[in-house]
Each structure stands twice: as C-alpha cells, then as structure tokens.
Amino acid sequence: MASTQSAAAPVASPAIAPMIVMEAVEKWYGPYKALTDINLSVRQGEKIVLCGPSGSGKSTLIRCINHLEGYSKGRITVGGVNLTESAKTIDAVRRDVGMVFQQFNLFPHMTILQNCTLSPMRTLGQSKAKAEATARRLLERVKILDQADKYPAQLSGGQQQRVAIARALCMEPKVMLFDEPTSALDPEMVKEVLDTMIGLAEDGMTMIVVTHEMGFARQVADRVIFMAKGEIVEEGHPKDFFTAPKHERTRAFLGEILRH
C-alpha cells in the first residue's frame, strides 16, 4: 500500500496523505456567515461524527466537501484534488465522495436497481451487466436485494435509506458523507440503518457522519467534532469527548441531548 504512488498527491505517500483537508474554510450566505475558519483533516479510514445544535453549520460543512455548496474562502482538498469552482475538479471529487441524505432522495421514477445503476453507467461508463452485478452485490450487503425491482415508494423509510447507502456505494467512493441519515426515520427503523453504517465503518470506509445518535458516535467514531455557530468548538476521541468535554457550549449541548 505504502509503495503505490498516488497520481493526485505525488509528494506524500497515500498512506500518510489525508483523505480530506479543509484549511481556513469560510462560507457566506449573503451577509450571513455560515462557516468560520474551518480546519479539518481526515485520514483515510477515519470515522468522524459531527454534532451540534441545528444551524451550527454541520450540514453546510459536509455539503462543501462535495460542492453541493460552494465555499467562499480557504481551501478544500479531497483525495489529493484541490476542489475549486471548476466543473472538472467538482466532478472528480464527486466521483470519490458518496453522500446519504436525511430525506433519502431516491429517484421515484426508477426501480431500486435502476437507482443504483444510473450513475455507474452514465458517469463511469460501466456496461449494464457490470453495473447491475455491482448493484445486486451491494443491495445484498444492505439486505434489500429482494426489493430490487420495486419502486422507492413501495419501501419503508429504513429500507429506502439502506438503498440510498447502496446506491452511493455503487460508485465505489473513497469517502462517505452522511447528513443526518436517521433523522427522518421512524424509531424502529433507526437501528437497521445504523447497523448498515457500522458494517461500512468496520470495512474501513472513510466516513463523516452528521448525527445526533451518540450511541453510534461512541461505538464507531475515531473523533467527535462539536460545532456551534459555524465554528468547530471542540473535537476529541469519543471517550474524552463524552466524559470530559472542555467547553461550556459542548457541555450544555451534551446535557441537552443526553438528558433523555
């Protein structure tokens, strides 16, 4: 692994070069500052949980990583590619970065299988047979292969979210972003989605997860990052983060969400 030379980052060895680097990133919505001086480096295989009150900029932060939102200042590098406004770098980064949304966002006019094969065929130029083979393997992995020919509306929320995970994996991403993946689910469906994500983490996927599921954070995260008002307030290993939070705002937040 260490001997393979990455074309994108010729200087550093890929084992050491971080997968995602954000340097002094700022994001403005008109006069409103959504992100302030974000510095974040994510190693390959690292699992990060982002938490914080609503409006703290966690979703905005991960949406900057695949350029669903442009950023105003600073620098973002993903897999050695410096993400700019150019379509070329945006496309390159998006090929490496999968994303799962709160509202699943499956394509309602396509079957589960078609949802999974669309981008591999259109973007990666895979044959239908190859794309379908990959899709079936990944649908099997999220335990939903028997629903492959159904339409999204025929599935439960938990099943739809597992399809969304499989659909993203079909692109063979190096990084997976999760934007509150369980927030829109009925309570009894949260576990099946979290279990799928835990399986993915155990396989070594680099993950950034925006969630309030602190059990998941404790079990899976290498680092928990707490944000408030568009800034990273505190970060640490989950053990330290939950037992000995340093900042008053972190303590207040943890008090709020761990109370019940």
């Binding site: 496309d91 998006r94 999968g98 949304f101 394509f107 309602p108 669309l118 973007t123 692109m171």
Partner: protein, 213 residues
C-alpha cells in the same frame, strides 16, 4: 348543408389539425430549450429566456401572427401563409410550453438534483434521466390543457387568410346564408377534437396522482 360543403369544412379541419400538430411539435422542441434556458444556472441565458417568455405571453397571439405575416415581408422575407402561421404559432407555443415546463422543472424537489449531483452525474444526465422524467409527469395535465388551447387558438390563423376550419366555416356560412347551422357544426367539430383531449388530460392527472402516492 350539402355533402360538398361538409367536405369543405372537413378539409378546413384537416388544416386546423395540421397546424396544431406542427405548432405543438416544433413548439415543444423550442419550448424544451426555452425551459432549460429559463432554469439554466447561467444567469444571462436564464434572463434571455425570461424576456422571450414575457414578450410572447404579454402580447396577443393575433399581433404575433400579424407581425410575422405582414411584418416580415417588409424586411424582404416573403412568406407563404402556411409558413407564416406555422412560425407564429411555434413562437407562441414555445413560450407557453417553456413556461409550463419551467414550472414543472422547478417543482421537482431540490433533493433530486442534489442526489444526482452527489452521484457525480453531470448536467445532461441529471436533466435527462432525473429531472425531466419527473417534470414531464408533473407538467402533463397542463401540457395537454395547453394543447387544447392551441387547437382552438389556430382559428386566429383565419385572420391572415389561412383556410383552416373557422375560415372554411365563414365561407360556407356566407354562401348558404345559414350561419347558425354552419357555425354550430364548426363548433361541434372543435369540440369533438378537444373534449377527448381534456378527458385524457384529467385521466393522466388522476393516474399520476395515484402513482406518486
């Protein structure tokens, strides 16, 4: 009415249908371009499409036909009545369909485009495979409704001397001095064409409403 007179009305109907079909097909092609331009991330393109729509929605169709039929020859472009009305109705239809489809494109939830973008799909596959199929479904009842308006609207072509159904009716009415009978028959012919379309539009609306549930 003699059978000869009825045949004359039917030949008028043929031209009404031909003009409607041409206007709808070419209007749909340009209308799709207008809708894509109108929703383009490029602000200049979007603004140009907006002005185009505003001009054709904000002026009477009859004026548009007059400009094309009487105006263009003054610039040295001598057009056959058939070509002139076809151009006039195409411009008209493209603006209206462009606006209908603009609304439908924007009615597709933003999460759909975002999911497609996150999957690294570029603009064309995003539009073609994800947005347009959903937008078409949303727009279909309004599109069929516009087609009905368009068919009835082709009667304005009579005013530049294009012998479609209405003008054919006028000729027969003048000849027979029985305008009540003749125009009733003409109206009935329009109704026979338009009513099933309206029913079809309503059926599609119910079908898609059920499918998206």
């Amino acid at each position: 009415m003699s059978s000869q007179e009825i045949l004359f009305l039917l030949s008028g109907l043929k031209w009404t249908l031909a003009l409607s079909a041409v206007a709808f097909v070419t209007g749909a092609i340009f209308g799709l371009l207008v809708a894509l331009a109108r929703t383009s991330p490029n602000r200049i393109v979007a603004k140009a499409a907006e002005y185009y729509i505003n001009v054709f929605q904000g002026t009477p169709l009859l004026m548009q036909l007059f400009v094309v039929y009487f105006g263009l020859p003054l610039l040295g472009l001598k057009l056959d009545a058939w070509i002139a009305v076809a151009i006039g109705f195409t411009l008209h239809a493209s603006a209206y369909l462009g606006e209908i489809w603009r609304g439908a494109i924007q009615a597709v939830p933003r999460g759909q485009t975002e999911a497609a973008s996150a999957l690294a799909l570029t603009y064309w596959p995003r539009i073609k495979d994800v947005v347009l199929p959903q937008a078409l479904r949303i727009s279909l009842p309004a599109t069929v409704g516009f087609l009905v308006q368009l068919i009835k609207g082709t009667s304005l072509a009579a005013l530049v001397g294009f012998t479609e159904l209405s003008l054919a009716g006028k000729f027969i009415a003048n000849q027979t001095f029985r305008p009540l009978v003749v125009y009733s028959v003409v109206g009935l012919l329009y109704f026979i064409i338009c009513w099933p379309l309206s029913l079809y539009g309503a059926r599609l609306e119910r079908k898609f409403a059920a499918a998206s549930r």
